[in-house]
C-alpha cells in the first residue's frame, strides 16, 4: 500500500504533536485570562444609574467625608447607601431646580426609594463585612481605589476570591493608620499621625508600607493568615 503522506510531512506531524500541549496550555491561559478579564468580572464597567452621581464632585471638589453618606460603614457589614433624605439635606438648598435631580425630588416627595444599580457585586454565599475592615486599618482605597476621582462609580478590583485571599494572606500590604482610612490619596511616606498619636514617617524609618503594615498588624491585633483564610470567615 502506498504511503498516504509523503515523507516531508513528518516534521509537520511532529510539530502538530508537539503543539498539542501548547494549544492546551494556551487555551488554559486564555481561559484563565478571560476569567479574570474586565468583561467577566465587571471591572471598570460603568453602570447606568437613575442619577449620575459623581463622587469626584462630592468628595474631591466639595470635600464631603465618606461617612456623611455611608453612615454604617463602621458598625455594620454594609457601608450603607444614603437615604434620599441625606441628599435632600443639601439639595433642598443647592441645585434645587436641576432637572438631573428630578428622580431625587420625586423620591423624597412621593416617599418612594431611588432604585440604584449595584456596582460591587459579591456572591450571596460570601459575607463581606465593611466594619471589621475599616476598624483593622484597611482603607477605602484598598478596594475602591480612587473613588474620589471617579465621576461615575465603577468597580476597580476584580472582586475574585483570589484577590480577597491575597490580602487575607498578607494584610500588611493594605494596612494603614486608622486616621487615614477615609483619606483616599494617602501615601505611606506622607508622615502620618495615627489616632492614638503614633507618628509614622520616613525620618523614623516607618514611612514605607512594609514597615507600617508590620507595626500596625500587631497594634491592631490583626489575626494570622491561618485564621483569616478559614473558609467560614466569609462563607457561612
Amino acid at each position: 500500500m502506498p504511503q498516504v503522506f509523503p515523507k516531508r510531512m513528518n516534521p509537520i506531524s511532529r510539530i502538530m504533536l508537539l503543539s498539542i500541549p501548547l494549544i492546551i496550555s494556551t487555551a488554559g491561559v486564555s481561559l484563565a485570562t478571560f476569567f479574570r478579564s474586565d468583561y467577566t468580572t465587571g471591572r471598570n464597567e460603568v453602570v447606568d444609574q437613575p442619577i449620575p452621581f459623581s463622587h469626584l464632585h462630592h468628595v474631591s471638589e466639595l470635600g464631603i467625608d465618606c461617612r456623611y453618606c455611608h453612615t454604617s460603614v463602621e458598625h455594620s457589614a454594609y457601608a450603607g447607601i444614603p437615604p434620599s433624605k441625606t441628599c435632600m439635606n443639601c439639595h433642598q438648598q443647592v441645585w434645587n431646580g436641576a432637572d438631573l435631580l428630578d428622580p431625587l425630588r420625586s423620591s423624597y416627595n412621593t416617599n418612594t426609594p431611588i432604585v440604584w444599580t449595584k456596582v460591587h457585586n459579591v456572591p450571596q454565599y460570601t459575607y463581606f463585612n465593611h466594619s471589621i475592615h475599616v476598624s483593622k486599618g484597611v482603607g477605602c482605597y484598598s478596594c475602591h481605589e480612587r473613588i474620589d476621582q471617579m465621576p461615575l462609580v465603577r468597580q476597580s478590583k476584580t472582586l475574585l476570591m483570589e484577590w480577597c485571599l491575597d490580602c487575607h494572606r498578607n494584610p500588611e500590604k493594605n494596612i494603614r493608620p486608622k486616621s487615614e482610612i477615609y483619606n483616599l490619596g494617602w501615601k505611606p511616606s506622607d508622615g502620618t499621625i495615627d489616632t492614638d498619636g503614633e507618628v509614622f514617617s520616613l525620618e523614623k524609618g516607618t514611612g514605607t508600607q512594609a514597615e507600617i503594615g508590620r507595626i500596625l498588624k500587631e497594634k491592631y491585633h490583626i489575626r494570622e493568615e491561618k485564621i483569616l483564610t478559614n473558609c467560614s470567615m466569609c462563607h457561612r
Binding site: 453612615t71 454594609y78 437615604p83
Partner: protein, 1179 residues
C-alpha cells in the same frame, strides 16, 4: 497501633458498654433488612428520584437553566452584576442600621399564658424568636411552638381580608356593624351578645375592656374556652382551698418529684420555666463550683417518679416510670394520698401489685422529713385527683417548704362572681351552645379561636353556630369556624399588634407590633370598636398601664415607666400577690370524699386524648416547620397516629409492618383502626410505642384539619369527634371489637424518622446511677475526685472495652477531658504544645506541693494511627466546643426547631421524609431500654429481647440524645471530599463550603454520626414573590440542589461575635487577653450562644471556648506595654462540663476527636423499688 477492639471481649467488663438500647422495635427483632439499612448512610431510595412527574419537571428545569447560563454568558445585559439593585430608605428610621439586627421584647401566649420573648429583626423584618432572660416564664429559653411561630407570621396562606357572607368587605363596615350590635343590645342589656375567646390574664387590657363592656351590657357573657383546658386544675384548687388560686411550683426545691401524667411541655402552663427549674436539679457536677450555677452535687440530685398513661418527656427523664391506665392513675392518687396520711380519702379502684409497691415506696420517699417532695398532676385528671394532690402536697410539707405556693388567680374573672363560669371553659361553652340552639344568642363574636373544630363533638357547635343570626369571627386563618360565620376578620398575629399578656405567675408583658403584613386587625381592636372608643390599640394598652401606674403610685413618671416596661419586656410589680397558705389549710371537699371508686375493668381499653405535641389544638396545622418536626416520643411527623403498646397492638390485631423493600425506615405501612364512641367515629393509623401502658390508646387531637391552608389540609386525622364534654381526656370501656375499636382492612403510610440515622448498637446514649457514680468518687481536700487515681471517667460513661492504655489514649483524644489537657501539656505530645505554653490548669493546687504532678509519660507507640493530618493550629487560640448534658435533655425538640429557624432549613413534606431525606441539622435520638432488673435487653438474642419488650408492663426506659455535627477535630468527612468543600478552620470548626460542594455525598457516607444532610431536590425556596422568603436569616446561605449541608455551630453567630470583639480591639471596655498567639480581644463567655443552646428550656447545651483558661487578662501599662492584670481566666462553662467524669465522646473510639461531647445521664433510682421489682409481681 490502631484502635481495634477485640470482638470477643467481655461486653460487660469494667467500663464496658452493654448494648441494651434500641430505637425501634425492628432493632429489637434484629431484622436483617434493618442491619442492611444501617450500613447505608442514605436509604437506597434516597439516591433516586423516582417520582415520574417531578423527574420530568427536573429535566425541563435543568434544560432551561443550561439555556439561561449560555444566554447569560453571551449577553452582558443578562450578567447578574447589572441586575442586582440597591434600594435605600427615603428617610431612614433612626434605630435601624442595615445589617445590624435589633431585638424587640414582646410575648407569645398559649391558652392565655405568656412566654416573654425577644424577636430578632433585620431591617424591620422579624426573623427569629429568642427567649427573654428577664421574663419569669422564659428565663431566656423558648419552646417548640414559640420558635415556630415566626413561620406562621409569614404564612402566605393566612387570611388577608375581611369578608361578610363570603363577600369582601372593609374594616369600616365591620366597625359600623359592631356599633349596630351594641346599639341594638343596649335595651336588652346585652342579653343576646356573647363573646368567645381564649382565656386571658386578669390584668390584661383585653380583660379590662371586657369588664368595661360588661358594665355597659351586664347581661352579656364572655366565654373563655380552650381545648387544652385547665378546668380541673382550677376546680381542684377551689375544692382544696375554697377559692380559685393559681398554684406556683418551685421545682428547684424539689428533692422528690412525683409527676402524675404532668408533662411540663404539653401541660401548657409555664412548661419552659418548670423544665428549667426541675432539670437544674438533674445536672450533676462532681466538680461543682458553688459560685456557678452549672448544676448540683451528687447528693442534691433530685429523684423523679413519673406515673403516666402516655409516654412523655417527663417519663423519659424520670428515674422511675410507671405506665398505668387513666382510671388506674385516679386510683393511684387515692392510694398515694392514703399512704402519706391524708384523712377521708375516697375509696380507690383495683391496682396492680406493682402499682401498690410503687405507692408504698413513693409515699415513703415523699414523707422523708429531710427531703422536699412535691407531687404534680396533669390537667387531664379529675377534680377529685387534683384535690387529693393538693392534700398530699400539704401533708408532705411541700407547701410549708415552699415547693408549692399559691397566688391570686392569674386568669381573668376568676376572682369575681363569674368565677365558676370563667374557670369552667368547657361548661361555659356547653351553656353557650345550648343558648345558641335555643335562639337566645343574637350576636356571637369569636376571637382567635376555632370552636367548630376544637369544641367537644357532642356539643355540635357548628350546627348551633348556624342558628346564630349574626356571627363574627376573627382569626389568623380562614378556618372551619369562619366558614360558618357571617363575618370574618383577618386577625393579627401576636407579633403584629399592641397588646399585653401575663405569665404563669401573673407578670405582665407589653406586646408590641413588629410588622403588619396583611393589614390585619386584632381582637383588641374589635373590643375597642364594640366599646365605641375612638382610640388605637396602642393607646388603649397604654391606658391600662397608666391606670396601674397611678394605682401603684410608682415613683417614676409614666412615660419612663412605660418605656422601661416595653424595653425590658416585663412590667415590674405585676406578679400576682402571694396568698398565705398554712399547713393544714387544705381540705377534701364533700364531693371528693364521697366520689365513687374509679372503675377499672381489666379487659377494657381506655382512650387518652392529648394535644398534639407540635400542632397543639390544631392552630399550628399550617406551620410546615411544626408539621415536619418529629413528635418527641413517636418520632412520627406529618401525622398523628394512635399510640399503643406492643401488647395492645396485638389485641387490636394491628401490626406495624415496615416497608423494607427500599431498605429504608423513613416510611412504615401500618394498620388503621376505627374507633366508635356512640355514633361518632374516627379512623386512625396505629403506631406502636414500647413502654406505653397496656390497654391504652393515646390519641393526639389537633390534626385532620379540613379548612386550612394547603400545608395543613388533610394532614393527619381528626380525633375531636371522639371527645365529648363528659369525657374530655379519657374514655373507658373500649373493646377490641367492631363498633368499638376495630382494625380495618385499610393500610396507611407513616413518615417516621426513628430508624433513620441509627448508630448500630454502640450504646450512644450513656447513663449511670447515683450509686454507681458515688462508688467511683472520694472526697479529697473538700473536692470530689475519682477514687481510682488516673481515671477521669465513670465506668458507665467510659469507652468500649479496650486495654487500659488504649482507654487512656481514647480519653486523651477527646477534646476537653482531663486526660487530654494533661496530654496537651505533656512535653511528649507530638504537637509540642509545651512550646506554645499550653498549661494543664486542672491541678494547680497540687502542683505547688509536688513537682509538676505525676502524669506518667505516654507510651509513644500508642500514637493514634490516622490518615488525617493534625490541625496543629486548631488548638492555639479560640477553640470552640460543645457539651450536651443528657441528664437534663427532655427530648422536646426545641433545639431542632430553633436550628430550623436560624439556619434556613427547608421543609420537605411527608413524601420526602418517607424517603429518609429529612433535613434537620440537629436530631434528637430517642432510645428505649429495659432495666436490668426486668431482664434488661443486653446479651439476649433477638427473640428474648422481643419478649421482654412485648411484656410492656416492664418499665421501658427512655433516653434522649440530641445529635448535631460533632465537629470532629479529625473529621472523617474532610478526608474524602474530592473538592475540599468540607475543611477545618483554625478554631476547630468543620467548615462546610456550599459553593464548593459538587454533591458526591462521600462525606455523608464517611460520617459515623450521620449528621450530614443532602439537598436531593431544590428544597430551598427561591420564589422571590413568596412571603416565606421573609423568614429567612440573611446571615446564612440558602443551599441549592446538589449541595451537602450540616450543623456549623451557628458559625454566623460566632463570626458576628468575633467581628464585634475584633472591631473593638482599641476599646478599653473590651477585655484583652494574652493568648499563645499574642494579645487578643476577648469574646466574653455567653456572648455567643448557638441557636439550639439558646432555645433549650433545660439549659442542657453548653457552648464556648475550651481554651479560655489559657488566657491571661492584660492591659497596657504607662509605657504602652501589655502587662498581665490578674490571674488566668477561669474555665469556661463548656470546659468545666467536659472535665466532668460523666463526659464522653460519641463514638470517640473511632478517633474522630469530637468537639461535641455528652455528659452521661446520672439517674437516681430508688433502691427499694429496684429490689422490690426483683420479686416480680408484674407481667
Amino acid at each position: 497501633m490502631a484502635l481495634d477492639f477485640d470482638p470477643n471481649a467481655e461486653s460487660n467488663g469494667a467500663g464496658g458498654i452493654p448494648d441494651d438500647q434500641f430505637q425501634s422495635l425492628e432493632q429489637v427483632f434484629g431484622s436483617p433488612e434493618f442491619e442492611r439499612m444501617m450500613k447505608d448512610e442514605f436509604p437506597e431510595d434516597a439516591a433516586e428520584w423516582l417520582d415520574p412527574v417531578t423527574r420530568r419537571r427536573f429535566l425541563t428545569l435543568s434544560g432551561a437553566s443550561v439555556a439561561l447560563a449560555a444566554a447569560a454568558g453571551c449577553n452582558p445585559s443578562l450578567k447578574p452584576a447589572s441586575q442586582k439593585k440597591i434600594i435605600p430608605y427615603v428617610k431612614k428610621p433612626e434605630a435601624i442600621v442595615p445589617g445590624v439586627p435589633l431585638f424587640f421584647p414582646t410575648a407569645l401566649t398559649l391558652g392565655g399564658v405568656a412566654v416573654g420573648v425577644l424577636v430578632k429583626t433585620v431591617e424591620g423584618r422579624p426573623i427569629k424568636v429568642e427567649g427573654n432572660p428577664a421574663h419569669p416564664g422564659s428565663l431566656g429559653s423558648t419552646d417548640v411552638l414559640a420558635q415556630a411561630t415566626m413561620l406562621s407570621v409569614y404564612d402566605p396562606e393566612r387570611s388577608k381580608g375581611i369578608t361578610e357572607k363570603g363577600q369582601p368587605s372593609t374594616w369600616d363596615k365591620v366597625q359600623t356593624a359592631l356599633k349596630a350590635v351594641v346599639d341594638s343590645q343596649v335595651s336588652k342589656k346585652g342579653a343576646g351578645l356573647r363573646i368567645l375567646s381564649e382565656p386571658a390574664g386578669s390584668k390584661t387590657t383585653f380583660a379590662g375592656l371586657m369588664a368595661d363592656l360588661k358594665a355597659k351590657l351586664p347581661e352579656m357573657k364572655w366565654i373563655q374556652y380552650e381545648a387544652v383546658g385547665t378546668e380541673n386544675v382550677l376546680a381542684g384548687v377551689r375544692e382544696a382551698y375554697g377559692k380559685y388560686l393559681t398554684p406556683i411550683f418551685d421545682f428547684k426545691k424539689a428533692d422528690t418529684l412525683v409527676s402524675i401524667d404532668a408533662d411540663f411541655l404539653t401541660n401548657g402552663i409555664a412548661g419552659i420555666r418548670y423544665t428549667r427549674d426541675a432539670m437544674s436539679r438533674r445536672k450533676v457536677r462532681v466538680h461543682a463550683d458553688s459560685r456557678r450555677a452549672d448544676g448540683v452535687s451528687l447528693e442534691k440530685l433530685s429523684r423523679i417518679y413519673a406515673v403516666e398513661s402516655n409516654v412523655t418527656s417527663m417519663g423519659g427523664v424520670a428515674d422511675h416510670r410507671l405506665p398505668l391506665k387513666p382510671s388506674e392513675i385516679e386510683s393511684f392518687v387515692r392510694e398515694l394520698a392514703k399512704a402519706v396520711g391524708v384523712q377521708n380519702v375516697p375509696a380507690a379502684g383495683p391496682l396492680s401489685e406493682r402499682a401498690k409497691e410503687w405507692v408504698a415506696v413513693v409515699a415513703e420517699d415523699l414523707k422523708d422529713e429531710k427531703k422536699t417532695g412535691v407531687v404534680t398532676i396533669g390537667n387531664a385528671y379529675s377534680v377529685v385527683a387534683h384535690n387529693l394532690v393538693h392534700a398530699i402536697n400539704d401533708k408532705i410539707g411541700a407547701v410549708t417548704k415552699g415547693a408549692v405556693s399559691f397566688v391570686e388567680p392569674v386568669g381573668a374573672e376568676l376572682a369575681g362572681k363569674n368565677a365558676d363560669a370563667a374557670a369552667n371553659g368547657t361548661g361555659s361553652l356547653a351553656e353557650l351552645t345550648a343558648e345558641m340552639n335555643a335562639g337566645k344568642v343574637d350576636t356571637l363574636i369569636i376571637l382567635n379561636c376555632n370552636p367548630v373544630f376544637t369544641a367537644p363533638a357532642d356539643l355540635k357547635f357548628g350546627a348551633a353556630l348556624q342558628k346564630v343570626p349574626n356571627s363574627i369571627h376573627l382569626g389568623l386563618y380562614l378556618d372551619e369556624t369562619s366558614a360558618l360565620t357571617t363575618w370574618h376578620i383577618n386577625g393579627t398575629h401576636e407579633l403584629e399588634t399592641w397588646g399585653d399578656a401575663q405569665a404563669y405567675d401573673g407578670t405582665a408583658t407589653v406586646q408590641q407590633p413588629l410588622l403588619n403584613l396583611y393589614g390585619s386587625h386584632s381582637a383588641l381592636e374589635v373590643l375597642v370598636a364594640l366599646a365605641d372608643k375612638p382610640s388605637s390599640a396602642e393607646s388603649i394598652v397604654q391606658d391600662t398601664w397608666r391606670k396601674f401606674h397611678a394605682a401603684q403610685k410608682i415613683a417614676v413618671d409614666f412615660d419612663l415607666f412605660w418605656h422601661k416596661s416595653v424595653e425590658r419586656g416585663v412590667i415590674e410589680g405585676t406578679e400576682a400577690k402571694a396568698v398565705e397558705i398554712k399547713a393544714g389549710d387544705v381540705k377534701l371537699s364533700d364531693t371528693t370524699q364521697k366520689s365513687p371508686a374509679p372503675a377499672t375493668k381489666a379487659s377494657d381499653i381506655e382512650l387518652v386524648f392529648r394535644p398534639d405535641p407540635t400542632i397543639y389544638d390544631g392552630r399550628f396545622a399550617n406551620n410546615g416547620w411544626l408539621q415536619e418536626l418529629p413528635k418527641p416520643i413517636s418520632l412520627v411527623c406529618w401525622d398523628n397516629p394512635a399510640l399503643v403498646s406492643p401488647a395492645t397492638a396485638e389485641r387490636l390485631k394491628c401490626e406495624v409492618s415496615y416497608a423494607w423493600t427500599a431498605g429504608e425506615h423513613g416510611q412504615s405501612h401500618v394498620d388503621k383502626i376505627e374507633i366508635t364512641i356512640e355514633d361518632r367515629k374516627a379512623r386512625v393509623p396505629v403506631w406502636v410505642v414500647p413502654g406505653l401502658a397496656d390497654d391504652v390508646i393515646v390519641l393526639h387531637f389537633g390534626l385532620g384539619r379540613e379548612i386550612v391552608g394547603e400545608v395543613g389540609k388533610g394532614v393527619g386525622f381528626n380525633v375531636y369527634p371522639l371527645r365529648s364534654t363528659k369525657a374530655l381526656w379519657t374514655v373507658g370501656g373500649i373493646k377490641p371489637e367492631p363498633g368499638s375499636a376495630e382494625r380495618t382492612q385499610e393500610k396507611y403510610t407513616l413518615a417516621s424518622t426513628q430508624g433513620q440515622h441509627a448508630m448500630e448498637g454502640r450504646r450512644p446514649a450513656r447513663h449511670g446511677t447515683k450509686e454507681q457514680a458515688a462508688k467511683e468518687l472520694k472526697s479529697e481536700h473538700g473536692h470530689m475526685v475519682m477514687a481510682v487515681h488516673g481515671k477521669d471517667a465513670f465506668s458507665f460513661a467510659d469507652n468500649p472495652p479496650a486495654s487500659a492504655a488504649e482507654k487512656d489514649l481514647m480519653r486523651a483524644l477527646l477534646p476537653g477531658t482531663p486526660k487530654e489537657r494533661e496530654w496537651m501539656a505533656d512535653e511528649h505530645h507530638p504537637q509540642k504544645f509545651f512550646a506554645k505554653g499550653f498549661k494543664n490548669n486542672i491541678h494547680t493546687h497540687e502542683e505547688e506541693g509536688e513537682e509538676g504532678g505525676d502524669h506518667h509519660a505516654h507510651d509513644k507507640r500508642l500514637l493514634p494511627l490516622t490518615l488525617i493530618q493534625d490541625h496543629e493550629h486548631n488548638k492555639l487560640y479560640r477553640r470552640w466546643g460543645m457539651a450536651i448534658d443528657l441528664g437534663a435533655c427532655i427530648g422536646c425538640n426545641a433545639c431542632a426547631i430553633a436550628c430550623v429557624a436560624e439556619n434556613n432549613i427547608p421543609v420537605l413534606g411527608k413524601t420526602e421524609v418517607t424517603r429518609g431525606r429529612i433535613m434537620h441539622w440537629i436530631r434528637i435520638d430517642r432510645y428505649f431500654s429495659v432495666p436490668e432488673e426486668h431482664g434488661g435487653t443486653q446479651r439476649m438474642d433477638a427473640k428474648e429481647r422481643a419478649e421482654v419488650i412485648a411484656k410492656s408492663t416492664a418499665e421501658v426506659k427512655l433516653h434522649f440524645q440530641p445529635v448535631p455535627c460533632q465537629q470532629c477535630e479529625k473529621a472523617p468527612c474532610e478526608l474524602v471530599c474530592p473538592v475540599a468543600a468540607t475543611v477545618h478552620s483554625a478554631d476547630g470548626l468543620n467548615d462546610m463550603v456550599y459553593n464548593r460542594c459538587v454533591g458526591t455525598r462521600y462525606c455523608a457516607n464517611n460520617c459515623p454520626y450521620k449528621v450530614r444532610r443532602f439537598n436531593f431536590v431544590q428544597y430551598a425556596n427561591y420564589d422571590k414573590e413568596s412571603t416565606l422568603q421573609l423568614v429567612n436569616n440573611p446571615e446564612v446561605t440558602m443551599r441549592t440542589r446538589g449541595v451537602m449541608e450540616k450543623c456549623t455551630y451557628c458559625v454566623q453567630r460566632i463570626r458576628a461575635a468575633e467581628i464585634e470583639a475584633e472591631r473593638e480591639h482599641d476599646n478599653p471596655a473590651r477585655r484583652k487577653v494574652q493568648t499563645p498567639m499574642g494579645v487578643r480581644p476577648l469574646i466574653e463567655e455567653g456572648e455567643i450562644k448557638t441557636a439550639c443552646q439558646a432555645a433549650c428550656p433545660s439549659n442542657a447545651i453548653s457552648f464556648g471556648d475550651l481554651n479560655q483558661d489559657q488566657y491571661v487578662p492584660v492591659a497596657k501599662d504607662a509605657k504602652g506595654e501589655w502587662k498581665p492584670t490578674g490571674r488566668r481566666l477561669p474555665f469556661s462553662e463548656v470546659a468545666r462540663w467536659k472535665l466532668e467524669p460523666s463526659n464522653y465522646g460519641l463514638l470517640a473510639e473511632l478517633n474522630t476527636m469530637p468537639r461535641t461531647s455528652y455528659l452521661a445521664a446520672i439517674k437516681n433510682p430508688n433502691p427499694k423499688l429496684l429490689a422490690d421489682a426483683g420479686k416480680g409481681g408484674h407481667g
